[in-house]
């Protein structure tokens, strides 16, 4: 998300955007090269499990250099506070699902998260609650009842599978 933090017009903006686009790729390549050095060799063989990752790591580092030498892409406009909050909620939602999975159960998670995300997207609270209720019911019927996915019921233990 580094590209978003750069103020267009600033003299160092190009350099920062270039670094933001190239550095992570180079770092991944470097880490892969370092980790691959610990992979064991196969007795009697010239090549082992390190060969392919080493080639990929080297390739990634080369690509990072080439990307750093290119002209940077355009700067992105800064989003509104509400937009950033919605995007953050979108990232936090899967985390919340994983944390509350067994305790809250899918129907309550779907209802709560669905309503919150719909409100953040601009829907009024009452329609958002109704839509979230429908969403929780629909996902339960499709996944738990028809496709037999073992979704947790949480406190709503009476729900049919």
């Amino acid at each position: 998300m580094g590209a978003y933090c750069v103020r267009p017009g600033w003299r160092g903006a190009d350099a920062v955007r270039r670094a933001a686009a190239a550095l992570p790729v180079g770092l991944v390549g470097l880490v892969v090269l370092l980790l691959s050095r610990n992979f064991p060799a196969i007795p009697g063989q010239l090549y082992g499990p390190a060969l392919f990752p080493t080639a990929l790591g080297t390739g990634l580092m080369l690509c990072a250099i080439l990307v750093a030498l290119q002209a940077p892409g355009p700067a992105h406009p800064r989003a509104s506070l509400r937009g950033r909050a919605s995007a953050l909620a979108c990232v936090l939602a899967p985390l919340l699902i994983m944390v509350a999975w067994d305790a809250a159960g899918w129907p309550l998670i779907a209802f709560g998260l669905g309503a919150a995300l719909l409100v953040l997207a601009g829907l009024r609270p009452l329609p958002a609650l109704v839509a979230a209720l429908g969403l929780a019911a629909l996902t339960w019927v499709i996944f738990a009842m028809l496709l037999r996915v073992p979704l947790p019921r949480g406190p709503l233990f009476f729900l049919p599978y």
């Binding site: 686009a21 010239l46 499990p49 990634l60 892409g73 937009g83 996902t139 996944f143």
Partner: protein, 495 residues
């Protein structure tokens, strides 16, 4: 002739026809839900198939998978979320066209060319099954390695003019495919002592993450942006289709054959077929600039190929009992359970079953037109909702799809991680498509590379000993040199 008539009678039985219809609708529903693949549809059908006769069981798998592969195009076109991995190659172009008001045209082409591709693949299956399967089996690891290299190279050079970023994305995808037990020694690589990673990064959650999450984040982050919800009039999706079929007939024929061939190769699948046809389409296009801008040509090619590959995958499965992909692997299992042994003897012992499978392919692909049209109609109301309102349900569906693959929360974590990486990539100009392709083909490339290297004990010149391998290596080299040649060509007139 007796076997053929017997097969015809079996397929036209009301129970078989009803099974095909129900399985088709099931396949359409599964294909429409991002994250649920055609393989998953097949796996979910197996418990039901156990209660059916052999022809109905195989018919249900054939119909469901064909429909699921087409249905994956619907969310891909309308929401930029490929319903199945087979639609990933051209989702970018489909969605861009849909946003410019051509959703109906794209979906119509997807539907018709999917059906035609499936029919063409079936004709090849019926006519040339033994020859093609024999050829695929004669390829060694050297040919497979160069074939993979050629496919990957095409992908990097098709993503646009930024080769370093395309190559970085591809290498990253290949790197993701190395996570888990190593092919040669079973040594765990990049697993960080997490047992969930021993079998590698789960592909479907990663796919959902790479494609769905960045789109959801972007839409919610910028609610003030002009609403690009594409509009489609389902009643008009077939307008101008006759002209389109005539215009793209050679593309369709070429890609249908490419798809069938890729499908027949063990390890190849509908997604690889789509990528291969898409890459070839770009390479062979008479007008690459229009190809990039318009995208229809690539869509026609890839959508024909992915459905044709389904038939292709049955060639080695039926003739040699070697599955072309995971779907046919499941289907072979069902055949064994039904006391039908696939292999050369099937032509003698169960010819009627074989012919029934062929007829089922024709029926399923013909049924695709009316049922697909209904599926598109059903999808239309979704478009009337404001786009950002769709993001909450999509996020929940994405999480459920990521979970449902292995019934594990690890899938949701994978989806989130890949989604954030995909978002960063797109914000910094890296294409996501090659990364996904790298994930799909990584294991195949490494397996064939290591097998070949172990065979030749370090003598790399032997990679070029076999004529087909040499030809593929030369083609790969030409693709690598293509940007240089293009620059030279531009420079010469201006000089």
């Amino acid at each position: 002739m007796d076997a053929l008539l017997r097969a015809l009678a079996m397929v036209t039985d009301s129970q078989v026809l009803l099974t095909i219809l129900a399985s088709s609708m099931f396949g359409l529903s599964v294909g429409c839900i991002p994250g649920l693949t055609a393989t998953m549809a097949t796996a979910l059908l197996v418990p039901f198939a156990m209660f059916l006769d052999p022809v109905s069981a195989i018919a249900s798998i054939v119909a469901a998978t064909a429909m699921a592969i087409f249905a994956g195009d619907i969310p891909g076109t309308l929401l930029r979320l490929p319903g199945t991995p087979a639609s990933a190659a051209y989702v970018h172009h489909s969605y861009a066209l849909a946003k410019s008001g051509r959703a109906g045209e794209v979906l119509g082409l997807n539907l018709v060319f999917s059906a035609l591709g499936g029919l063409l693949g079936t004709v090849v299956l019926v006519a040339a099954a033994p020859t093609l399967a024999d050829y695929a089996l004669s390829l060694s690891s050297f040919e497979f390695f160069w074939l993979s290299m050629l496919g990957l190279s095409c992908a990097v050079f098709l993503v646009g003019d930024n080769v370093p970023k395309g190559a970085a994305a591809l290498l990253f995808g290949l790197l993701l495919a190395t996570v888990g037990r190593d092919y040669t020694t079973a040594f765990p690589r990049f697993t960080f002592d997490d047992p969930e990673l021993l079998d590698g990064i789960p592909f479907v959650p990663a796919l959902i993450g790479f494609f769905a999450l960045p789109e959801i984040i972007r839409t919610l982050r910028d609610p003030g942006a002009p609403d690009g919800a594409p509009a489609v009039q389902a009643s008009r999706i077939f307008r101008g289709m006759g002209r389109a079929i005539l215009r793209w007939r050679w593309n369709f024929l070429r890609s249908g054959l490419v798809g069938t061939f890729v499908g027949a190769l063990p390890g190849g699948g509908a997604d690889t077929a789509a990528w291969a046809a898409y890459g070839i389409s770009r390479r062979l296009s008479r007008d690459p600039q229009t190809w990039d801008r318009d995208g229809i040509e690539g869509i026609v090619d890839a959508t024909s190929a992915n459905n044709a590959s389904l038939s292709g995958a049955w060639i080695p499965a039926l003739v040699f009992a070697i599955p072309g992909d995971t779907i046919t692997a499941i289907a072979i299992g069902v055949l064994y359970l039904k006391n039908v042994t696939p292999g050369p003897s099937i032509f003698l012992e169960n010819a009627h079953v074989l012919y029934a499978v062929f007829i089922t392919f024709f029926v399923a692909n013909l049924l695709m037109i009316p049922l697909g049209w209904l599926a598109i109609r059903a999808a239309v109301p979704i478009l009337r909702l404001p786009r950002q309102m769709l993001m909450a349900p999509l996020l929940l569906f994405a999480c459920l799809g990521a979970f449902a693959v292995d019934n594990s929360l690890f899938g949701i974590g994978t989806m989130l991680a890949c989604g954030l990486i995909g978002y960063w990539m797109e914000q910094n100009g890296y294409p996501v498509g090659p990364a996904v392709l790298g994930m799909v083909m990584g294991r195949l490339v490494e397996e064939n590379l290591m097998t070949s290297l172990i065979k030749v004990q370090g003598d790399v010149t032997r990679f070029f000993e076999r004529p087909v391998a040499t030809a593929l290596a030369v083609f790969t080299l030409l693709v690598w040199l293509w940007p240089l040649a293009r620059r030279l060509r531009r420079a010469v007139p201006s000089a």
